[in-house]
């Protein structure tokens, strides 16, 4: 039987600098058969190893609808992410996974979607957006509200334009007050404020959000407030200290769930049912 802790060897094929401290890494498994058979769901994550430094969980920022693309967008935060940022094209890393539940595509099909992202929180949403755009007929209108602290901190800048030009997609970009530059033509304000201003109707719509915890908190409050979303209509993907990815090591246990195994994607209703720890 498979040893669940052994990573598979992967090679860094391409590195895209997104911002001063965020890079996207495109990976290919060394084992060709694995490279061909590796499948995942939008919203799942992998454990990314730099041998000698350690292992950390990152969501897959690419979409399973684009076979062969395995991408993680990673912000330089600590020891492991520093080592990842030091990688060069051709370097070898370890990958195990995919883990977690992923976005509930079945429930999103046929519905209008609003995706609300902040900072590097756009990474898991990108996986979903690409997935939706590749199966455009299966989904309703798409509204993307994305913000960062400043214009330099917006990720996937080229792709944002592509999305905007896709059929039935509306993009609203924003930066925090003071984060704008002279060329800036988007909104100025915090993401939850802009969401309330755009005020997308909750009719036949699902809201999917990811970003810093404080942003998520205000998006949840705002959406379930005057905007009238029911907690079942809101989906978020959580960040937690995870290590094993398999519900064993215990650290991502909150309420009766393990974020790594039962999540990281939850509806707001599920989070409410779990108690007050969130």
């Amino acid at each position: 039987m498979e040893n669940i802790y052994l990573p598979h060897s992967a090679i860094v094929k391409e590195i895209i600098s997104e911002t001063a401290d965020i890079k996207t890494f495109r990976l290919t498994f060394e084992d060709e058969r694995l490279q061909k058979s590796f499948t995942y769901l939008a919203g799942q994550f992998v454990e990314f190893s730099v041998y000698g430094v350690g292992e950390a969980p990152f969501c897959l920022a690419s979409s399973p609808t684009r076979p062969g693309q395995i991408e993680c967008t990673i912000k330089k935060m600590g020891k492991v992410t520093q080592a990842i940022h030091d990688l060069e094209v051709g370097d070898q890393v370890g990958i195990r996974g995919p883990y977690g539940n992923g976005f509930p595509l079945k429930e999103l099909r046929g519905k209008n979607l609003v995706l609300v992202g902040g900072g590097i929180g756009l990474a898991p949403l990108r996986s979903l957006i690409q997935n939706v755009l590749d199966k455009r007929d299966e989904y309703g209108d798409v509204l993307i509200i994305y913000g960062a602290k400043s214009t330099e901190e917006l990720v996937y800048q080229k792709e944002l334009e592509e999305w905007e030009n896709s059929p039935r997609v509306k993009m609203v970009l924003t930066v925090d007050p003071g984060g704008e530059d002279q060329k800036w033509q988007g909104e100025i304000g915090f993401v939850p404020t802009i969401l309330e201003k755009v005020n997308p109707s909750p009719d036949n719509r699902m809201l999917i959000t990811c970003g810093p915890p404080i942003m998520i908190r205000y998006v949840l409050l705002g959406a379930t407030g005057e905007m009238g979303y029911r907690p079942q209509q809101i989906i978020t993907t959580l960040e937690m200290k995870m290590k094993c990815g398999l519900g064993k090591c215990g650290r991502c246990n909150i309420g009766r769930v393990y974020i790594c195994k039962d999540g990281p994607v939850f509806t707001y209703q599920q989070l409410k049912d779990l108690g007050n720890e969130f």
């Binding site: 041998y51 292992e55 935060m77 960040e239 519900g247 215990g250 650290r251």
Partner: protein, 337 residues
């Protein structure tokens, strides 16, 4: 299969096992009772209060190499293990392994744990002298329970032992040894068992736990209960069912270590966020995991009532009392959620 053995016959059984297996048994190591590899029958204790450390270290070692890496090549650790016997394990500790199995032998099996489990026979010794801190009978167990063991030895006192197999391997060990067990022997055994059970004074009411925990999540009770705690983590480390771990890279190898929910770093994320920053939250997590979440997910409590947590707490927190005192009604929240 049940057989009656005299002390000399039991010694012969142990001696025979030592020839064939690696034997791990309780010994007195400078005043501490610990399970250690043994090679002589005389080293092994027969009548002892339960060991300081549970036997989980033989299945989930405090530090364990998962694999080595050399120039990008991953070399899995050698998992093959000589057949071994843990001799003298108490019923509470044998049962703890069945609980750990639910975590490590679920649909995603942990091969490190599984191989150790597969290569180990458990020969248990029933408990005739429980301690004041014991409460196994509150958790579907008891001092003479054979659950999880291959073979249970019951000390009928006066040098006579009743051995009962609980697996084909256990039966194999018993074959052709001692003499048949008659009704009188069984009666003596039952008497001793009942006498021992009566000695266990701590009686908890687990049926109330789930509801009280659910109601009491924000209760100010936890503030009070956790006040003395110094977050040293000894209750987690010495608990036979606590199994949380961390994984880290050391020179050339990836290693896993015991970890515990009493430590602040356990849930601290690189971003600085920490869902269980406060002592109260960390203290509480242990109770909620063992007596709430685990029960909800697996149908059993993650506790065997061995009492090590309260015997070894440096600030004398009485863990079973904390459970017993859980308020029936939700109290005012200690802080804004």
């Amino acid at each position: 299969m049940k057989r009656l053995l005299k002390k000399e016959e039991l010694n012969r059984l142990l001696l025979g096992l030592m020839k064939e297996y690696d034997v791990i048994a309780p010994i007195d190591e400078e005043g501490l009772i610990l399970f250690r590899p043994v090679t002589k029958v005389e080293q092994v204790l027969w009548d002892y209060p339960n060991s300081l450390k549970p036997v989980k270290e033989f299945f989930l070692p405090p530090r364990e190499v998962l694999f080595q890496f050399k120039r990008g090549k991953v070399q899995p650790a050698n998992l093959s293990l000589k057949k071994r016997v843990i001799w003298g394990v108490r019923p509470c500790d044998a049962r703890s392994l069945l609980l750990l199995d639910k975590v490590f032998l679920d649909s995603t099996q942990d091969v490190y744990y599984r191989e150790k489990r597969k290569s180990t026979l458990l020969v248990g010794l029933s408990c005739n002298h429980p301690e004041k801190s014991c409460f196994c009978t509150s958790f579907a167990s008891g001092p003479h329970h054979k659950e999880g063991m291959d073979l249970l030895i019951a000390d009928l006192e006066e040098g006579i032992f009743l051995l009962e197999s609980n697996s084909p391997e256990g039966e194999q060990l018993l074959k052709g040894r001692g003499k048949e067990v008659n009704k009188i022997d069984e009666k003596i055994r039952t008497k001793i068992k009942e006498k021992t059970e009566r000695k266990i004074e701590r009686k908890l009411k687990p049926s109330q736990f789930l509801e009280r925990l659910t109601n009491g999540f924000d209760s100010s009770y936890w503030e009070k209960a956790s006040r003395q705690c110094i977050s040293c983590g000894i209750c987690r480390y010495l608990c036979p069912t606590c199994h949380c771990f961390d994984i880290a890279d050391e020179e050339g190898e990836r290693v896993r270590f015991w970890d515990g929910c009493s430590f602040r770093n356990f849930t601290k994320m690189t971003s600085g966020e920490n869902p269980r920053f406060g002592k109260r939250e960390r203290f509480k997590q242990w109770y909620y995991h063992k007596f709430g979440y685990f029960k909800e997910n697996h149908g059993v409590f993650l506790c065997v009532g061995c009492g090590r947590c309260l015997r070894n707490c440096p600030v004398k927190i009485d863990f079973s009392e904390v459970l017993q005192q859980l308020p029936a009604q939700a109290q005012t929240p200690a802080r804004e959620g």
